[in-house]
Amino acid sequence: MNDEIKNREHADNQVSKLLKNLPTVKTSADFEARLQRRITQENHPEKIGFFDKVFQAKFVPVFSYSIVAMIAVGVVSYYVFLRTGVQSPLSLPANESPVSTEEKAVATPPGESADSRLRESKRLTKEENQPAGNDETQRDKQISPEGKSAMKQAEKKADAVDDKDAGELNAVQSIQSEAGAAGALQDQIQTQTTTKLQERSLAQPSAIGTQQMIQSSQIPNVEPMYRKSTSLLDSVRQDSLQKAQKQLQLLQQKVKSKKPF
C-alpha cells in the first residue's frame, strides 16, 4: 500500500518534472505593436460608406436572385398583358347614337308638316262638301233632320278619321324622316371613319395597312365590316320606306272612300 502510494508520487513527480522542464514559449517581437494597432482600431473605427455597406460580397447572391426575378416578371408581363391587348382599329361600335331632333328637322323637307297637310285636306273636303253660297241653304232645306244628324255624325267620324290620318301621316312622316336620318347618319359614319383612319395614317405613316383601310372605307364594297353596317342601314331604310308607302296608299284609299259627296 505504501509502495503504491510512493510509486504514484514518484510518477507524478516525474511527470511534473518533465512538464516544468518544457521550454517557455514567448510572444513575437511585434506583439505589442500589433496589440496597440488593434486597440487604436477599436477606439477609432473606420467609417464604412453606404455603398460599401450595401454592396458587400455576401449580398451578391441576393442581388443576383432579385435581378433574375425582376427580369422574369417583366418578360411574363409583356407576353401576358401587352401582346394580347391589341384591338382592330376598324372595330366600330355596335350601338349608334340616336338621331337628334335637329337631324329629324333637317331630314324633313322644309315647309311641309302634318298639320298643314291636314288643314289642306280639310279645306279641300270642306270646299268639296260645301257648295257655293245659295246652294247650301237650298240643300239644307231639302234634307230632313234625321239626315242632318246622320250627316253630323258622319262629319264627326270623318273628323276622327282625319285626326287618325293626321296621326298616321305624322307616323309616316316620322318614318320617312328617320329613314332620311338613317341615310344621313350613314353618310356621317362614313365621313367619321375616313377622318379617323386619316388621323391614324398620319400618326403611323409607315403603316401601309392603314392607307389601304382608308381606301377601302371610301369604297363601301371593299371593307366587309363597313359593308355590313351600310347594308343593314340600307335594309332598314328600305323597309321603313316601304311601310310608309303602304300606309300612304291606305290612307289615300280611305280618304277617297269616305268622301260623302
Binding site: L19, L22, V25, F31, R38
Partner: protein, 199 residues
Amino acid sequence: MHNQEPAARSQSDEELIVAFQQGHTEAFNILVGRYKNQLMNYLFRYLGDYDQADDAVQETFIRVYRKKDLYKPIARFSTWLYTIATNIAKTQFHKRKRYVSFSSKNRREDSGQDERRDIPDHTSSADSMADSTLKQEIIQKALDSISPKYREVVVLCDIQELTYEEICDITGLNIGTVKSRLNRGRTRLQELLKDIHHE
C-alpha cells in the same frame, strides 16, 4: 519621464491596474510587458497551436483594456487575467476543429528574428538538441491528448506553477476537484510518457 518609469515598474499589478483605470495608459503597457510571455506559454500549452495562442493572448489584453473598470482590487490581478485568458481559450477550443499542430520550429516568420523557444539544454551537440525537440513534441502531443479539463489544471499547476488557491479562483472549482483532476491528468500523462521515463 525616465525617473518615473522605474517607479512605475516597481508598482504592483494591482496598483498599475488602478492607475490604468484612472487614465494612465502607460500602466497598461507595463502590465502587458509583464504577463505576455506567461500567458503565451499557458495558452500555447493548452491550445497546442502558436497562432491560436497568439490570437488568444491579444484578445485577452484587449478585453482587459475594454473592461478595465470591471476589475475590483479584492482579487489579485493575475487571477483576473488568467480567468479571462482561460475563458477565451475554452471558447477558441470549442470553435476550432481539434487537431494537433506542433511545429518543431515554432517561430514567427514575420518577426524577422529566428525566435525559438527557450530550450534549457546544457549540451551543445546536435543530437541532444534534436532529442530534446523530439521530447517536447511528444510531451505536447501527450498534453493535447488528455481531456481539456485535466490539461487546464495540469498546465496551471505544473507549468505555470500557480498555487491551488489561485487555480481554484481561476477555474472556479473547489480545491478537492482541482486535486482530483490534477491527479488524474498526471496519471494519464504518465501512461503516455512512460517511454520517455525509461530513457
